[in-house]
Amino acid sequence: MFEILFISTINGVLYGMLLFLMASGLTVIFSMMGVLNLAHASFYMLGAFFGFEITLHMGFWAGLVFAPLIVAGIGMVVERYGLRHVHRHGHVAELLFTFGLTFVIQEVVEMVWGKLPVDYRVPASLDFSAFTVFATTYPAFKIFALLVSVVIFLALLMVIRRTRIGLIVQAALSHPDMVGMLGHNVDRVFMLVFGVGVALAAVAGVIAGPVLVTQSNMAGLLGPILFVVVVVGGLGSLGGAFVASLLIGLVQTYAVAFNISLADVFGSSPLSGDVAFYLDDLWNVTVAQVAPILPYLLLVLILIFRPRGLMGTNNR
């Protein structure tokens, strides 16, 4: 029991940190620019595929560095020559633009790498077991992925808290127009933030690619969960995104790990007759079976009972 709990907790935190790498960029872009970037998960996918390709030619470490840089460049071009022009026509146009972008990226990925999963493997230098708990070995690569996410999280925090550009970004979260009128080039800050935001998603892609499956549908699989994280945490709140990422990471892994149903807990159904016949299925559903629904259930409940999210202050 302890073993399952321990392993699931690490897995859950890892999954949560990966979600946070993506959600942090998404939420900062949203609060500064008012743009809900539907294509955010697509940049995560690009990160994974670039990571795979660069790993083939130059090794994993080069991939870890260059894939996010290339994605940052693409992101900045998209902001500068796409979003910035679309921005004038309002939020609906922006949403449609990023929505369309998801298809463009997916089609391009399928043209280049095909629809089947690519052979993106854990690098040999990290392909060993980090430790053994009871009978279970835990792969070193997952610990490495966890470390990378934590280091990036701390670095981001330092940049935002301690540097002048971080100060400008924080100010622009509440009053972007005022920041411009104080003489700061907000457009350039937006472009930079967009680039950094999608680069974070790309980092998540590079380190998640070998563990999950690197395939052209991976953006579609992850995108919806990402929006759950951002809405549950509160649109525009970094702290909220952090809490919600870990929450959803843990809930999903625990739910899969503890494969129990109401029947396991309370014994066989106390009901009898026709009612039991219809409710038996429900009584025997395991938590693992409903695990994929849990985040969306949480999303619905949050939207009903606390629409601004766990820690959201933004009332836009």
């Binding site: 002048r164 100060l167 400008i168 924080q170 100010a171 979260l173 509440s174 009053h175 127009d177 005022m178 920041v179 411009g180 009128m181 104080l182 003489g183 700061h184 080039n185 907000v186 457009d187």
Partner: protein, 231 residues
């Protein structure tokens, strides 16, 4: 210093500014008076470049209409909006530091002087800007703009919603600002303070200036006051 000729501005389809003509000279305090909704705030915003105006705006012999707000700010125009736009999650000190432009040389106004003039801001230097009272926020937002060393500062309704004692202090601050050679363009609802500190006044009505003169001229002109100012 600032020359505005035939300025037009729109919000959507509404034609807010319909040919504004006005000017502010060096070392001058100029006020724009008028009822709500005649376009006084929009005049300041249009000079600042948001909304983008049509017409001529000349500042220190440079045409600035059509330029971006941050470029206009860097040329030396400071703007203090009516809603104050304090960064609520940042500290009082961080709010002030954000007023400094990148690559800026020394200013006529330093953070030490702000502390000296407003000891209550210094006491709360590390408190979040959102926790300040209305009057303190007004002090903070004016000082924040001054940190960027403007040659002209445009201030929108600084005394709105403030207690009389605070209004006096704002008046004193503005006169101190003017003594340092910074021109002031003030949009003000309270006649008394505008009359006391201004060198020149404009009265605005329906998107245009309808009167220009000294405070004494305005005192003498009953008709203008009755038609455009009194409720």
């Amino acid at each position: 210093m600032l020359n505005v000729r035939d300025l037009h501005a729109y919000y959507g389809k509404s034609h807010i500014l319909q040919g504004v003509n006005m000017s502010v000279g060096a070392n001058e305090i100029v006020s724009i008076l008028g009822r709500n909704g005649v376009g006084r705030s929009t005049t300041l915003k249009a000079i600042m470049g948001n909304p983008v105006p049509r017409g001529d705006v000349e500042f220190k012999q440079q045409k600035i209409a059509g330029r971006k707000p941050h470029e206009i700010a860097r040329l030396g125009i400071g703007y203090v909006p009516e809603e104050r736009a304090i960064f609520p999650m940042l500290t009082v000190e961080q709010n002030l530091l954000l007023g400094i432009k990148s690559g800026q040389k020394e200013a006529r106004w330093s953070i030490e002087e702000t502390w000296k003039l407003f000891p209550q801001l210094r006491e709360r230097a590390n408190a979040p800007g959102g926790a300040l009272s209305g009057g303190e926020q007004q002090m903070l937002t004016i000082c924040r703009t001054l940190m960027g060393n403007p040659d002209l500062i445009m201030i929108d309704e600084p005394t709105e919603g403030l207690a009389p004692q605070m209004v006096e202090r704002i008046g004193d601050l503005l006169q101190e600002v003017a003594r340092r050679g910074i021109s002031i363009l003030l949009v003000e609802q309270r006649l008394a303070i505008a009359m006391r500190i201004s060198h020149r006044l404009y009265v605005m009505g329906h998107g245009q200036m309808v009167f220009e003169g000294t405070p004494d001229d305005l005192t003498a002109n009953q008709d203008i006051r009755r038609e455009w100012l009194e409720v």
